[in-house]
Symmetry: C2
Subunit: 245 residues, 2 copies
Amino acid sequence: MRIQKGNVLNTSIPTCRNCPNLSCLIQYCDQEAKAFAGENKINYLIPKDQYVFQEGSLVLGAYFIFKGKAKVVSNNLQNRQQTVRLAGDGHILGHMTLDKEFYPIGAVAMEDTKVCFLENKLFFQLISNNPKFAYQVIRFYSKELRKSELRNRSFSQMKTFEKIVFAFLYICSSFGYTEKEKILIDFSRAEIAAIAGTNPEQVSRSISLLKEKGYLESDGQKIIITDMPKLKELLSPYLSWEILE
Amino acid sequence: MRIQKGNVLNTSIPTCRNCPNLSCLIQYCDQEAKAFAGENKINYLIPKDQYVFQEGSLVLGAYFIFKGKAKVVSNNLQNRQQTVRLAGDGHILGHMTLDKEFYPIGAVAMEDTKVCFLENKLFFQLISNNPKFAYQVIRFYSKELRKSELRNRSFSQMKTFEKIVFAFLYICSSFGYTEKEKILIDFSRAEIAAIAGTNPEQVSRSISLLKEKGYLESDGQKIIITDMPKLKELLSPYLSWEILE
DNA sequence: CGCGTCCTTGAACCGCGTCAAGCCAGGTGG
DNA sequence: CCACCTGGCTTGACGCGGTTCAAGGACGCG
């Protein structure tokens, strides 16, 4: 198995103004590193539904998402796929290491996605020259770990219905939303099920129930959340919501 | 609610030879930082069963475990406690941040545990002056996140029996073991249940079943794993085991 | 010796995963 | 332009597994 890459972009690392998370990281990189990155063509465009990297491939560095959406997925031998994390603009995919290690997970682009691949050596160089960059990376991982731990807890205690509600909120928080406007989720039932850790039928049932009670509307596979605060309230026994933001 | 601390130790940061993970981290700290840490008495001894920090307390920095065991726990409002992570020698507890944030989780010492508290400012100072230290911290978080993601996936697909087997292996991998010798797990049924995300009854049933099939022995609450490889095999459909080590 | 705590085992209810059938929308070809 | 087909959404029915409740036993402690 090998890392599957999209088209190489000939740009240097952009400042990425419309992507606060990443620009926050990148602005701390010194000129030298930026030039190196540009020369070495480390920016890629991954088309929708293609792998950023595949399960079982060799770890060579970390991927930063400039613009786009990706899901971190994991198959087991029974061919069931589980989505373990969602990543949007400015997030980090993959895990850097000094040793040769293998990924137990893969990442798939959910839309055309611009990523920047930082090979281990370059990554270390960036950290060494840019302590603020290092600090931002640590904060990112620290936050993601916290989110992941929370998901762990929630999933082991929630009933299926609640897991599905959680999946909706997780999607919203991963890709951003504003409290006021209506939120559109355009995921297939199967995709939602893979996040919630259940099956499409249960997702469908839960949506019907939520629709009935006026929490959301649906049109084909599209879901429109009309009352976000009430939806959050359903999970109030489990969560303090600030932390997902 | 306030941070509950144990006795303050008057030592400076030790090199901690018997604790490879942490010594690996700490050896990269410069003398100045070590002196500062020593002066500011940032080392604490947390007695067994006391909180290192409590759910809902303010985030002020990160805790490094020198020697001991701790569990990261999380209560929901129905008073069910879930253990989301185990941490042994050299591991990091808590999550650093620039802003004022709240922990959604707490940490409890599982035995008398020596920890070192790095307040945010000091932590940043360490990172700035010690790029290798920063890199090690990033590696640690990256690895923990990977483990957590894997746990996420596994738990959403495994049956209860398998989750309990997983809990045993998770305990072993967190606190270290050698493949050859017999491994003693001295946890109450309820504690194991909190890790596996189920109830003590199921833990008890699973243990009986495993005992019957010769995977382990038990004596009161003590569990002795006699055949680790066979135990791992039970979960082979889910896991590539290297990554937990 | 009595009490409390934890482990163990049994029994009953019910949530949910699975299977199956019906429905609707979009795409294709005659 | 319509007939057909395919794939995803929806809903119902069934059966298994697990949570919960309850009772009995082992052990330590006062």
